[in-house]
Symmetry: C2
Amino acid sequence: MPEDTNRSWTLASRPNGAPKLTDFELKESPIPTPGAGEILIATRYHSLDPYMRGRMNPPTPAAYTAPVPVGGVMESDSVGEVIASNSDLFNVGDIAMGKIGWQEYGVLDGRDARKIDPDAAPISTSVGILGMPGLTAYFGLFDVGNPIAGDTVVVSAASGAVGAVVGQLAKINGCRVIGVAGSDEKVSYVVDELGFDAGVNYKTENVAERFQALCPDGINVYWDNVGGPITDAAVDHLAIGGRAVICGQIALYNATSPPQGPRNIARMLLTRRARMEGFLVFQFSDRFQEGLDRLAMWIRDGSLKYREDVVDGIENSPTAFIGLLNGANFGKLVVKVS
Amino acid sequence: MPEDTNRSWTLASRPNGAPKLTDFELKESPIPTPGAGEILIATRYHSLDPYMRGRMNPPTPAAYTAPVPVGGVMESDSVGEVIASNSDLFNVGDIAMGKIGWQEYGVLDGRDARKIDPDAAPISTSVGILGMPGLTAYFGLFDVGNPIAGDTVVVSAASGAVGAVVGQLAKINGCRVIGVAGSDEKVSYVVDELGFDAGVNYKTENVAERFQALCPDGINVYWDNVGGPITDAAVDHLAIGGRAVICGQIALYNATSPPQGPRNIARMLLTRRARMEGFLVFQFSDRFQEGLDRLAMWIRDGSLKYREDVVDGIENSPTAFIGLLNGANFGKLVVKVS
């Protein structure tokens, strides 16, 4: 392809249920030109996160942000090199991250991009543990979950981009941490490498029985990335005064009709005097620097580890995203673009 | 019956689904004798409240208190006259309330009874608006629901012992209040007599459509006395940052198998950055006097009204209780014992 071509993954059609490869279309267009105050970024990595499934849906009153329009570029945080700048904030050669999307080149207002120090950490972490997923874990756990030392914290999707951080932050906070994941390899990873106290393989074990055995005094904080039967079991085991933090509902994202399940949530919240609360990381945007500073500190001192699942080549983005919704990734999923 | 006989409603059998009259047995026994520090109370009124249905179930780990044993006296707050006292805290002739149960006479440790001033308010209010139901409304609304002036507050079971207080307190607090009730008469009562802004008859109207029309900016506080489809609709209409306060789940209490419903709660809490929280009034026991003082103040100044549904004669307690679970009462249900 010619050097002045930008390849972009666009939304070809809104999925009915699980996204298919045909719901995405790779379009070519000229590399865009930055206007006044803008910068042009050559993407090195773009992020893939479960929330993007929601952006593929039609607009609804309940959606917290506008969806990607059909024909529009798929949304993501991305990080890359500034190759042209009309902004006082960036020089050519700087590394910048921002909402560039699934594409090779993007233009952002300099004020909407964040400058990344490539010597501080691998730049891919700016869309992972030192980006939205890490901040989601930090603020959701500490400001919504309110764990205290000695609490039992159960984390679903425990080896994923957010769950792995949540569990490690809870350990740093003096909690007992149980991780739920979808393979023995992932369970071993969170226990043996990340230091969780125990793990549950939800595909091979009876989750309710395991919660009963592992959390005899109940679950003080349940971190919900998934929804569905794992959440049912966790809610049934909440401790008095427990908190269920709703971060994601990946088990429900591909549903084609309203999912049904037991009416246990309100009843358990009542008898356990417990709380279930949803949040979006953007609620805490005025404190992002605090979160980034602490996450970076814990990475430096070795108490916070991360694992990336790097897919090579933007042509593979849709396949990798479809896999993410099925738990095929192992660690924070990013696409290496160039 | 002889004057020294105490009649007590006992739990004959644990109900399977809705309680039947045969699940209760009226037993006669000698009037008990108070021991050291104890008082003997001749019951004037005993309370009937939905929570008592839970006390009829077998013990479970999720229950927040021990159930009534089979053969045991049905539990209730009751109020009556002290007719014998071995306590420094009470004289014969005082009015006392406490956990006497569904019976004509009861013995309590003087420290477990509350002295009631019969000149301040009708003594039946000590088991109603100036007792557990009023305190439930006060602490649940203000400390869990956290309404602010201008909020839209939706109250289920709006004409009941708790709901009617919640709605009026929300009005005092400067909120817009929508009441949900099960008859046009009840809806008229909360709107025309209690000053709610609007009402919904859930038996004849499409609740979701009415919420949409009445709460175009969403529900800031939903007071849940009921669970089930009304709660589904309210959760679907939560505003950003909304709070669903779980006080009761009366629609589910008689279920014989685990009730099923849409998995909308966690999803809506996530997209709305909202919270659902259960509580028990006993969490606030160190502040009961604050609540009673304020409720009494608002009753005195006319901003808080109440309606009692008085059933005459302890022989009618089970029938009245079964009706309560079906919404047959209109106002705070109490049984006049003598």
